[in-house]
């Protein structure tokens, strides 16, 4: 083969095909998805998924910046495909509409840690999250999740006594007499974000399973 232009053309056309198929077509099909309106018992219309606001949205930035996505996915595979639903990672499969507010969309490709699509429903306790982020070994001995001590401030207990938001640390993890560990704003935002991660709403294309509503509890998640 010696004809350069033929080669050029072939090279460009082949990639053009998948550019149309895997970039343009998804853009056309999914780029315009909107939240779904739902009317509650008293006739108030709200839209799902809800947009994240304030601290939760700032928390998403920390989640991105600290690279939680390299160990945690945020996508629940359909029932019968993998153990996602059985593990209690979500009540229903995730669908495209669930992500219309996310920038970036952090589906994740690794489950070194559990899926977090529904962590807000599974675990909403601030104290647990703070302790876990401060050092996962306290709540989950043997975890490979990194500790995030830099999201906390270790300081002397002030004249007013131990702060209300100080972590309850005991034994080897205790900060020492006269000291306390309190979450920084970043830690608080991150936990607000985690608490906002819920896929507990109905969507027409992915309805919640009936009656299974309350079957998902923190204990089912192991």
């Amino acid at each position: 083969m010696k004809y350069g232009p033929l080669l050029f053309l072939g090279i460009l056309l082949t990639l053009a095909s998948s550019w149309v198929g895997l970039v343009l077509a998804p853009y056309k099909q999914l780029g315009g998805l909107l939240p779904n309106p739902a009317t509650n018992a008293v006739g108030v219309v709200s839209y799902f998924p809800e947009a994240r606001k304030g601290e939760a949205q700032q928390g998403a930035e920390h989640y991105r910046s600290l690279g939680c996505v390299y160990c945690h996915s945020q996508q629940v595979r359909p029932a019968g495909f993998g153990g996602d639903i059985d593990r209690g990672w979500g009540r229903r499969r995730s669908v495209s509409r669930d992500y219309v507010h996310d920038r970036p969309v952090m589906l994740g490709t690794s489950r070194t840690g559990p899926d977090l699509t529904n962590i807000g429903e599974r675990q909403s306790d601030y104290g647990w999250h703070y302790t876990h982020l401060y050092n996962p070994q306290i709540t989950s001995k043997g975890s490979v999740m990194p500790p995030y001590p830099f999201l906390f401030e270790k300081r002397r207990i002030g004249p007013g006594g131990v702060s209300t938001n100080a972590l309850k640390l005991v034994g080897e993890f205790a900060p020492g007499d006269g000291w306390e560990v309190v979450p920084t704003p970043a830690a608080r935002q991150l936990v607000e974000y985690l608490r906002s991660l819920k896929s507990s709403y109905d969507l027409p294309e992915a309805p919640l399973p009936k009656a299974a509503g309350d079957a998902v509890t923190a204990t089912a998640v192991q």
Binding site: M1, Y3, L6, G10, L13, V20
Partner: protein, 64 residues
């Protein structure tokens, strides 16, 4: 089917047709002839066919 779907479908069908046309054109123009010539392009005067190169790990024994 949406217009885009139809477009995609026809686009998909057009790909093999275009590919075949290119192939026919290439064959007619002699692009596919003399392929063995192409296979010899890595070789040159200094590193010709049938000469193994880069046998450097043999350097010691070759010197002695």
């Amino acid at each position: 089917m949406s217009p885009i779907g139809i477009l995609l479908l026809f686009g998909a069908m057009a790909v093999p047709v275009v590919a075949l046309a290119c192939l026919r054109w290439a064959a007619k123009n002699g692009q596919l002839q003399n392929g063995d010539r192409g296979a010899l392009l890595p070789f040159d005067l200094e590193e010709p066919l049938d000469k193994a190169t880069d046998q450097i790990l043999n350097r010691k024994s070759a010197k002695s």
